[in-house]
Subunit: 195 residues, 2 copies
DNA sequence: GTCTATACAGCGATAGAC
DNA sequence: GTCTATCGCTGTATAGAC
């Protein structure tokens, strides 16, 4: 049993997930292969199939790990204890970091590939968005309660608009290879909440 | 020389574009093939290669035709002569129509596939977004001039945010298979312009 | 846990007949 | 303009040795 603290060489399954995650975020689910991942890690395709029996299984593991990590990081944003507007800005900043690596949001990319995905992957993608919206709804509700935000719609509706909008800002900004474009647009979304 | 008025059976190249366009909007550029299109039209792959020598050539033709048609339709929205807010709503309604067919915006989908596209296709995708933003910028500027809109940022910045946001609202709403979700969110974007 | 080897389907693309 | 036939390659996945 290996004890993980920090750094250290990750096990093979983790390294497979690392590479596959990056490739999906860069190229999409249908434009990466076991051969791509294997070559990058100096393994064979057969070795990958030992760790993840099928591409669908790899895909599901990818989404699940990403979702866990993302909401762990979001909890850190919460623990900074700022205002609702600052928290939403923290949320957009998480995505700006992804963009700086020229990557799309993993689940945003999979949303584009959605109709080609096996059902279990679809469900995991939707679960990610549901959690995004639930987090955002909670943040907006607190902002309304403390008077820092004024909404003309329900917090849930405002949250779903924000989550969707951020995905699109990433999608287009990445094509332009222009993170500042994303940041300018995201700042407007936040500003609209407090107007 | 065939005269096109309305309806009538389109020529083969047009029918190829029709099918390929739908498949890209549903599945993405890397998840459709010449075989898919040929089978649907009762042709062979070789016949498709006669009309479009390569997949890249087909892709470029796809974007160019779509761009022409989209801005022709947008001109109709303009000619209705409504206010800036109504024009933006008309813009979002064009995309709602696409969503009702369970399709993503063609260029939004290609933005996801962006890093896998040949350079000429990338340029055509960016040109589409540039024209979207130019149209939207013009609409917003007129709204500011006539006093119907108040912006806290430049019209160009507000336009790029709107265009990007709409793409994301489509992307996520399509995964949820929920056009009303898109419409609720899009209405908020419009409302934020006049607040 | 990783390898070699292989199966089998699909891909984009081409040659040449009709 | 469309066909048959085929090429070379890549895709996911499996069997069995080490």
């Amino acid at each position: 049993m290996t004890i993980w603290t920090t750094s250290a060489a990750a096990d093979t399954a983790s390294r497979i997930l690392d590479v596959a995650e990056r490739l999906v975020q860069l190229r999409g689910y249908n434009a990466f292969s076991y051969a791509d991942v294997a070559a990058e890690l100096g393994l064979t395709k057969a070795a990958l199939h030992y760790h993840f029996a099928s591409k669908a299984a790899l895909g599901i593991a990818l989404i699940n790990r990403h979702t866990s990590r993302f909401f762990a990081t979001l909890a850190d944003v919460d623990s900074l204890g700022p205002t609702a507007a600052a928290r939403v800005t923290g949320y957009t900043e998480l995505y700006a970091r992804v963009l700086r690596q020229h990557r799309m949001c993993l689940c945003g990319m999979l949303a584009a590939d959605y109709l080609t995905l096996p059902e279990p992957m679809r469900a995991a993608v939707i679960a990610f968005f549901n959690r995004n919206e639930a987090w955002m709804t909670s943040v907006l509700e607190k902002g309304v309660e403390d008077g820092s935000l004024r909404l003309n719609e329900t917090a849930a509706d405002a949250a779903s608009a924000l989550v969707g909008a951020v995905e699109g800002l990433m999608l287009v900004a990445r094509a332009y290879d222009d993170v500042e474009r994303f940041e300018r647009s995201a700042a407007q979304l936040v500003a609209a909440l407090t107007k």
